[in-house]
């Protein structure tokens, strides 16, 4: 039997998800033995025309990472969806928007102004910004459109499975491959992984008292967490209670509180709001003034509570005053 064919594609991302394939180390050889990688922009040269020429179903599965930010990416992912029976949102950006999704806290106009006008290293007296189509001295240039917002993959195409994480741990990638090869996939549209909250598998859970109070939030930038105690009980915001486990607790082991890259547990509609609910129970504040001081000690709630999930949150993005030009 011919080996199943697999495609990898990246949208707006840092490349870490691609790195995770490389991090399979010797296991990558097993993958290559079992499947043919037919598209992998980070490693192999390939053009859109080649993909257009695929027979539908010829390539079994597309692993797509990154958030959809450009019209070019939209074209690619639509094409891959058309050709492949399975599409997997690979990593936090494709799953929830990820770090590039934080751009939904500002507007395209602001992004362009910062990048092309305000940046101190830019000399741009004409205040030019990238245009979809421009002509200069008889030369014509077409560029992909930079969308107004960042979109997780399932906001633009139907997604069959999600592999969470920033990046997904190599063990989970290997397990997903095995599930595909052995045809032992979970029900469609599910996240491949565990459903329980991270706290349940966290090595620090034993140190988490049943009842504890926090007066002020501490930040890892300005205080060093104890290497063994539950971060939350020590006053560091840890997304563990509202975040899906199965990540291997890599951050926790590195003495860094959970930042939520695996996204909300299946019964959570919105991870950020769930966290507010959870932490408010622990705040030591019995007056309105104290409650306000406690709340204010959580600096940048939007960036902290939705570090990886802003475009997939209930409100999706920030509304800016005035209109988008």
């Amino acid at each position: 039997m011919a080996k199943p064919k697999v495609a990898f594609y990246w949208c707006a991302s840092c490349g870490g998800c691609e790195e995770t394939i490389v991090d399979l180390a010797e296991d990558v050889l097993k993958v290559v033995e079992a499947v043919d990688i037919v598209l992998w922009p980070v490693a192999l040269d390939y053009k859109l025309e080649h993909v257009k020429a695929w027979q539908p179903g010829e390539v079994t599965v597309a692993f797509i990472n990154g958030t959809v930010r450009l019209s070019e990416q939209l074209e690619w992912v639509r094409l891959l969806r058309e050709k492949c029976p399975f599409v997997i949102a690979f990593g936090s950006c494709a799953h929830l928007g990820g770090i590039p999704g934080l751009a939904n806290a500002t507007s395209r106009a602001e992004i362009f102004a910062n990048k092309y006008h305000r940046s101190p290293t830019i000399d741009n007296p004409q205040k030019a910004v990238p245009l979809i189509s421009s002509s200069v001295d008889g030369h014509h240039l077409d560029l992909p459109e930079f969308f107004k917002d960042a979109k997780p993959l399932d906001q633009v195409i139907p997604v069959d499975y999600y592999l969470p994480g920033c990046p997904p741990p190599p063990e989970n990638v290997a397990a997903a491959f095995t599930a595909i090869l052995e045809n032992k996939l979970p029900p469609k549209c599910s996240v491949i992984g565990v459903d329980k909250a991270l706290c349940e598998s966290c090595p620090r859970n034993e140190t988490k008292p049943d009842d504890f109070t926090i007066t002020r939030f501490k930040r890892v930038a300005t205080s060093t967490p104890d290497p063994e105690k539950c971060f939350l009980a020590e006053g560091f915001l840890c997304m563990g209670p509202a975040t899906r486990g199965g990540c291997g607790e890599r951050c926790i082991k590195g003495n860094m509180p959970c930042r939520g890259c695996f996204g909300p547990t299946p019964d959570t509609l919105d991870a950020g709001l769930k966290m507010i609910s959870a932490i408010a129970s622990h705040g030591e504040a019995d007056t309105e003034e104290a409650a306000k001081a406690f709340a204010d000690s959580l600096v940048d709630p939007l960036g902290t509570l939705y570090r990886f999930s802003l475009p997939a949150s209930m409100l999706r993005r920030r509304a800016m005053a005035g209109a988008e030009q």
Partner: protein, 147 residues
């Protein structure tokens, strides 16, 4: 500019023991107040997850009222303190989303304070008329590219 034609939609989460009874008293005492609030009876203000509030705003409410027993009077002793702590944190978050914090209001209304309930609803309705409609999906549409 205040659009007097605009009738704001308010979702009110009222705790069963105090505020809902207070609202009931306003009704049975035939107090006059605007009909803009849809009351949802919950067991305690501590049961009002911020998710409920945001879901209401996202689904078309222009404002949300959370009302519970006065501090110290919660039927479950601590519930309203939870509401009290969640509230400013939620407001800080709404600021960052670009939603005016005056659209979400927390009030302590006892079972005997029918008059206060009527006043809060009147004031809040007026406030929301000044703020205008929220229309969240429509508001963010201009900052999203069609998919």
């Amino acid at each position: 500019m205040v659009d007097q034609q605009f009738e704001p939609k308010i979702v009110g989460f009222l705790c069963r023991w105090c505020s809902y009874t207070g609202a009931d008293l306003a009704g049975t005492s035939r107090m006059q107040y605007p009909p803009n609030l849809a009351a949802i009876r919950v067991m305690c203000s501590g049961r009002v997850d911020p998710t409920f509030v945001v879901k209401a705003l996202q689904d078309g409410a222009d404002g949300v009222l959370i009302a519970g027993c006065h501090p110290g009077d919660c039927h479950y002793s601590e519930g309203n303190y939870k509401a009290m702590r969640r509230y400013p944190m939620l407001l800080n978050l709404l600021d960052q989303f670009g939603i005016d914090r005056r659209r979400v209001r927390l009030e302590w209304i006892s079972a005997s304070e029918g008059e206060m309930f009527a006043r809060v609803v009147s004031e809040f309705t007026q406030q929301l008329k000044t703020l205008g409609p929220l229309r969240w999906p429509h508001t963010i549409e201009q900052f999203c590219s069609p998919a």
